[in-house]
C-alpha cells in the first residue's frame, strides 16, 4: 500500500474555524436527516391549527389568543430538537474531539447553536405569518409577530443549548432538560407574545421588542461560553 502524504500542515485554531466547522457539519447532518427539522415545523403548524378546532372559530376570540398560541407553539417546537443537540455528539465521542480541538469552545458552541436555530427557529419564524392569517391577525400584527419570533427564537436556541449541555450525561436527560429550559423560556414568551398583542391593541410594540433584543444580546455574549464550560464538565 502506498504511503499517505507526508505531514506538512500546521494545526491552528480560531473562533471562525470552529464556528464554520460546527455549523457546516450540523447543517449537513440535518440535510441528510430532514425528519427532525420537518417534525419541528409540522408540530408547530399542527399545534397552532388545533386550537381553533378545540375552542371554536370565533374571529374575535382567535385574534385575541393568536399571538400567544403562536408563540407557545413556536417555543415548544423549538424545544423538540434540543435533547439531541449535544447528546449525539456526546455519545459518539465527537464532543471529546471538540473539547480537544485547537479551536476555542466558544466557536463551535456558537456554531452548533446557530445551526440549531437555522433548522428550527428560522423556519418557524418564516411560517408564522401564514399561521397568523389563520387567526385573522391584522397585517401589521403579523409583521410584529414575525419580528418578535426573529429576535426571540435565537434566544430560545441559546438558552436551550446551554441547558442541553448542562443536562448531558444525566440520567433522564430529556426530562431534566424540560424542567431546566422551559422555565427559562418564560420571559422570552412573555415579551414575544406581548409584542404582537400590544400591536394588536394599538399600543407600541417597541418596548417588548427592545427587551427581546436586549435579551438576545445578553444571551449571545454569555451563553456560548456557558455551553463550552458545561461541555467540558460533561466530558470529564
Amino acid at each position: 500500500m502506498s504511503a499517505p502524504t507526508p505531514k506538512r500542515h500546521q494545526a491552528s485554531g480560531s473562533f471562525s474555524g470552529g464556528f464554520s466547522w460546527a455549523m457546516a457539519r450540523d447543517l449537513r447532518l440535518a440535510w441528510r436527516h430532514p425528519d427532525e427539522a420537518v417534525l419541528t415545523v409540522a408540530f408547530f403548524a399542527l399545534v397552532a391549527s388545533l386550537f381553533p378546532l378545540g375552542i371554536g372559530a370565533e374571529p374575535q376570540l382567535l385574534a385575541r389568543i393568536g399571538p400567544g398560541v403562536i408563540w407557545v407553539g413556536a417555543l415548544l417546537a423549538a424545544f423538540l430538537a434540543l435533547p439531541g443537540l449535544f447528546a449525539a455528539d456526546y455519545a459518539d465521542g465527537s464532543l471529546e474531539q471538540m473539547t480537544l480541538s485547537p479551536h476555542p469552545a466558544l466557536g463551535w458552541a456558537a456554531g452548533k447553536v446557530a445551526a440549531h436555530w437555522i433548522v428550527s427557529g428560522l423556519p418557524l419564524t418564516l411560517l408564522s405569518p401564514l399561521i397568523g392569517l389563520q387567526y385573522g391577525l391584522a397585517p401589521d400584527t403579523l409583521g410584529v409577530q414575525a419580528l418578535s419570533l426573529l429576535i426571540g427564537t435565537p434566544v430560545l436556541s441559546l438558552l436551550g443549548g446551554a441547558c442541553a449541555a448542562l443536562a448531558l450525561g444525566a440520567r433522564g436527560g430529556g426530562m431534566l432538560l424540560a424542567l431546566l429550559a422551559l422555565p427559562l423560556f418564560v420571559p422570552v414568551l412573555i415579551f414575544g407574545a406581548g409584542a404582537a398583542e400590544a400591536q394588536a391593541t394599538g399600543l407600541s410594540a417597541a418596548p417588548h421588542l427592545s427587551l427581546l433584543g436586549a435579551a438576545l444580546i445578553a444571551a449571545l455574549v454569555g451563553l456560548p461560553v456557558a455551553v463550552g464550560a458545561a461541555v467540558r464538565i460533561a466530558v470529564d
Binding site: M1, S2, A3, P4, T5, K7, R8, H9, Q10, A11, S12, G13, S14, G17, G18, W21, A24, R25, R28, L29, R32, H33, A91, D92, G93, S94, E96, Q97, M98, T99, L100, S101, P102, H103, P104, W108, V235, D236
Partner: protein, 215 residues
C-alpha cells in the same frame, strides 16, 4: 531526528507525580514518566487500572487530582490551546457520524483539528488505509474495522507531535494492524511522540519503545 514544530523548545512530555481518583477509589498515584521525540510509551495493566483515565489526564479531558503535566517544558494548563493543537487523541469512541461518508468524516475531523487539507490528500490517505472504493459510503454501512481505518487516515494527516492512543489496534485485522504500526513507525521516525494504552505488543521499526505498568 529533528523536531518538526517551529518553536525552540524540544518536544517532550513530562508527567510528574500524577494521581487520579474516581469517586472514593484511588485509581493511581505517584505516576512519573517522560516521553521525548521519537519515543513510544506503552501503558499496560489489567482492565480497570486507569489506563484510559491516565491518557485522558494527559490530553486534558480529565482533570487529575494531583500532579502536573508539562508539554515542551511548560505546564499544559498555562497554554491549553498549544497543547491541544500539538496532541491527537484517539479514544474508545470513534467520533464518526453514521450519516456522513468516510470522506466527509475525515474532512470534518481534520477541519476540527484546524488542519487544512485538499480533497486529493484526503482521498490518498483513505486509499492508503484501503478505503478508496468505500469512501463515499455512509459510515453506518462500514464494518467496525473499516471505521477504525478512517481514524488511521486521520492520524496520517494530523500534524500533531504527540499521539495519545487508547487501544489503537481494537477491531483491526492483521493488515490493518500492520498499517497502524507502519504509520506509528513513520510518526516516531519523524520525531513524533506517542503514548498508547494497549494489551498488544507494539514493535515499530524505528523509535524507542518503553513500558509503563499500572498496578
Amino acid at each position: 531526528m529533528t523536531s518538526r514544530h517551529r518553536s525552540g523548545a524540544p518536544d517532550v512530555l513530562q508527567v510528574r507525580d500524577l494521581a487520579c481518583r474516581r469517586g472514593p477509589a484511588l485509581l493511581f498515584s505517584g505516576i512519573d514518566f517522560e516521553v521525548a521525540g521519537g519515543e513510544l510509551l506503552c501503558v499496560r495493566g489489567p482492565n480497570g487500572c486507569g489506563k484510559t483515565t491516565l491518557l485522558r489526564c494527559v490530553t486534558g479531558l480529565t482533570r487529575p487530582d494531583e500532579g502536573t503535566i508539562l508539554w515542551r517544558g511548560e505546564p499544559a494548563q498555562t497554554d491549553p490551546e498549544r497543547m491541544r493543537s500539538g496532541t491527537a487523541y484517539a479514544g474508545h469512541l470513534p467520533s464518526l457520524k453514521d450519516d456522513l461518508s468516510a470522506e466527509e468524516n475525515l474532512e470534518f475531523a481534520l477541519r476540527l483539528r484546524g488542519v487544512a487539507t485538499t480533497a486529493e490528500e484526503r482521498r490518498e490517505a483513505l486509499a492508503a488505509v484501503g478505503l478508496e472504493k468505500r469512501r463515499r459510503i455512509p459510515a453506518r454501512r462500514l464494518s467496525a474495522g473499516q471505521r477504525r481505518r478512517i481514524g488511521l487516515a486521520r492520524l496520517a494527516l494530523d500534524p500533531a507531535d504527540l499521539w495519545v492512543l487508547d487501544e489503537p489496534l481494537t477491531a483491526l485485522d492483521d493488515a490493518g494492524q500492520e498499517l497502524f504500526v507502519d504509520l506509528l513507525d513513520r510518526h516516531l521516525a519523524g520525531g513524533g511522540l506517542a503514548l498508547a494504552a494497549t494489551h498488544h505488543r507494539l514493535a515499530p521499526a524505528s523509535g524507542v519503545v518503553r513500558e509503563l505498568r499500572l498496578a
